[in-house]
Amino acid sequence: MPMHNRRAALLAAAAGLVFAGAANAQVDCPADLDGDGELTVFDFLEFQNLFGAGDLRADFDGNGVLDIFDFLEFQNLFVLGCPSGDIISAELAARSLDEFPFADYVSAFNEGQTFTVAIDPGVVTPPSGLVDVYIVADKTAAEWDADPSLTDARGFAQPSNFSGGPSTDDNKVDQGGVGFLNADAGENIGVPYDIVIDANNNGVLDGGDIIDGLDDAGMWLFKDLTTLGPAARTRIDTYTASFPGIPGSRNQQRLTYPSDIASRTDVPVVIIAHGNGQDYRWYDYMHDHFASHGWVVMSHQNDTVPGIETASETILRHTDYFWGNLGTIAGGALNGRLDKSQTSWIGHSRGGEGVARAWRKIEDGIYNPVNYDLSDINLVSSIAPTDFLLTSRSNPGASNHHHIAGSGDGDVNGSPVSPITQYFAIYERANIDEGDDQRTNTYVLGADHNDFNCCGFNDYQGPAALQIGRAEAQQVAKVAWLVLIQDAVRGNEVGMEFVQREKESIQPLGIRESTNVVNEYKAPFDLSEKTIIDDFQTGTSTGVASSGATVTFDVSNLNEGRLDDANTNLSWITSDPFNGMTRANNGQDQHRGIVFDYNGNRFIQWDLLGTTAFSDWTQYEYFSFRACQGTRHPDTAAIIENQTFVVTLVDGDGNSSSINIGAYGGAGLNEPFPRTGSGSGSGWGNEFETFRIDPTDFLRDGTTLDLSNIDRVRFEFGPASGTSRGRIGVDDLELLR
């Protein structure tokens, strides 16, 4: 949230309504009884006069009786003094970091887990002495204006002492009592709060206080997203869908809906399409999870054995049947209760490719739905999809696309052995043109293909000790889908942090700490909302970015090209520099990036263009890029651990500020999943993960850097910056508003 100040007078004016009877008293300074803006002996005399006259304006404890306690309260307020200055709006709720920038001002936090209130002294002067920190149920700015009183949701404010030292690290106070904070949002998934440092300890938000959340919420507390929501559920085990083109042998649907559907409206719908040799009754964990959060869930038989064209036809037509027959399905219980424009498709394996193909068929006019249209499909999620039909046909295009797969998949295994098995390929086809929606990738390390249903064969391949099992894989999947669908249908963007931040940064409740998930996210392709520094799609020389920025480097063996493993195995050979890249499939996809290695202190730098779009980073919320380690490369194999490096910004005056990507809670580039096969060596496909850094993090502690005039962005590698050697892939350097 950008920092901004608001005039305390606004609040005073609003509060004046509350204190309308207090003649002459400053409304935000009740002890100023003569109203001259100062606390002097004349205020004492005025109190004495009012008290002596029996005037209840002297009833400072508000109990209707004038006694010694009113005097004591008056005295307390007099000592505290009148609030002065503006209310200061600043980031406060944070994850504490051990190194610069010392605080990660995120918005999503887990229920019951300690978080930090951190003051950046470069932005706000920390209050002196013991001050109360309040965690308050979220209010809008208007609500704060109307009622500035502070009520801590824990039942008590936390007295806190910010040292006033020069670093944010000196001014962090972990908040206790978080167990008293409610994260029960019913069928929603998070509860918003505001954070207030009550600098004058008067229990009111007023001048000099610091607030995180004056406009939007300061933070959100999320429940355990793997747990069921509160809605009771009704299931119809199976019923027949009769619609032209649905084969008689594939005509069954299964339905789960909130039992109190009769009292609901605008209910979203999730439609699930299984894969080959799978069954429409194998996804009850999704049925239960989604329906318990107030959604309707339908899974259907999918005609997958003939192929993807057939499977996609089944998906399209089962969806058509559903939306065209609400008057009879479940005895008409759903009729008039649903919101067709909030339909999500989730498909598994061949069904995962099927949903992408289904989207494309509508977009290309190959299939014209009778009872819905493309705009009604607001999420297309593919679980470990095959890629039989390749670029032009299995292409989710502009959709809000999600991909989830396991690194231990023994079926659609993710290796370059065949175009069919490269599950990342469909994901990469989303979000490449202006107007395309966001895309999200959830890569579950140690999960296999059938972990995402109840009953398929265990096909896990990989180190036995790293197999996470079906129950755990489904926990991960439930979190991803819950926040994705909440975002898609209810606009809860903060929940998306669970799939946007690194797992080390936001460990979801209900998932084992040892379970490793690699998150990748690309914001909607909207050039009014982002500026692309380099996506490597144009400017194909290694010396020029797609934006036209000059690129210089001394990293070794830098190659720019298609993210396509050139052969059919993962063995490292120098003639295949994009080894392990299973993103641009089979020569048809054109997604590009760079790979390089280092064994010593090295850098790559983008000299920006000097135009406002590139140099003024104050307009952006995030600097985002994705990166990965290069599997089985000698420099990767030499150090099997997370790789870290430094991101440095340099302004037009030569000032610089640096952040190590490992600073954000042990995060870094994940080491490749240590699976063997597909050639010699150990390590599976390259695991791109997205890093998003708030540009203001570079300003922490008053670091001298002109964010409005950034000249260069540089990645620095090697022992002086993090991991001593490595092989790296990089893509999609973007600035996001």
Partner: protein, 208 residues
């Protein structure tokens, strides 16, 4: 996240691969036996998605075939295509656990062009999506099967099987699904769940 410390890593890597799917057998591969055959007719045909030409099926045979289970292990990648003579067959169950596949093959069952099961090969061909298989591809696969020495079953065997079952005359494809469900229960009882779904499909229950 560092997965494991170095010592443990060596142990873990040594214990890799815990549940690999079976390797795909070589194709062409014959079915091992034919254990059931029954002709059927439909008043209302159904388009078959199991070959590129999308023919309408109005008659044909329900077959139960004994097969090498590894040929029908459910895979998302391409699977061996089941051929009967000059067309593809629709597999209506998985059959991995039982080694028995229930299939439907669309064909004329009377007249000059009637399919004579004793004169045609039944085999698994090159892994592919059936919806992409056309007449040319079938001819190629048939030649490969011939080269591999795959032969039709004997007329005696076929006649015996067909003599055990009368022709099913049904209004639509859903009408034969209860028979398919029975065959699954008989020959592939591990797939009871699938049989239940065919019961539902054939019952034409709707919206309840």
């Amino acid at each position: 996240m560092k997965f494991l410390n170095t010592t443990l890593a060596a142990t873990v890597l040594a214990a890799a691969v815990v549940a690999a799917p079976p390797q795909l057998p070589a194709t062409p591969a014959p079915v091992q036996d034919i254990v059931f055959a029954q002709p059927f007719t439909l008043d209302r045909g159904e388009v078959s998605n199991w070959r590129a030409e999308r023919p309408e099926i109005t008659s044909g045979y329900i077959l139960v075939l004994k097969v090498d289970p590894d040929l029908v292990y459910p895979r998302q990648t391409a699977e061996p295509v089941l051929y009967v003579g000059d067309t593809t067959a629709q597999r209506l169950n998985v059959g991995y656990r039982s080694g028995h596949v229930v299939a439907v093959v669309g064909a004329d069952i009377t007249g000059e062009d009637a399919l004579d099961l004793s004169e045609v090969k039944i085999w698994f061909g090159t892994p592919e999506l059936p919806e992409r298989v056309d007449a040319n591809r079938i001819a190629q696969e048939s030649a490969l099967a011939d080269a591999a020495g795959i032969k039709p079953f004997s007329a005696t065997k076929i006649d015996t099987l067909l003599g055990q079952n009368e022709t099913l005359d049904e209004a639509a494809m859903t009408g034969i699904l209860d028979d398919v469900a029975s065959l699954i229960r008989r020959f592939s009882p591990q797939e009871e769940e699938l049989a239940v779904s065919y019961d539902a499909s054939s019952g034409q229950a709707s919206g309840s």
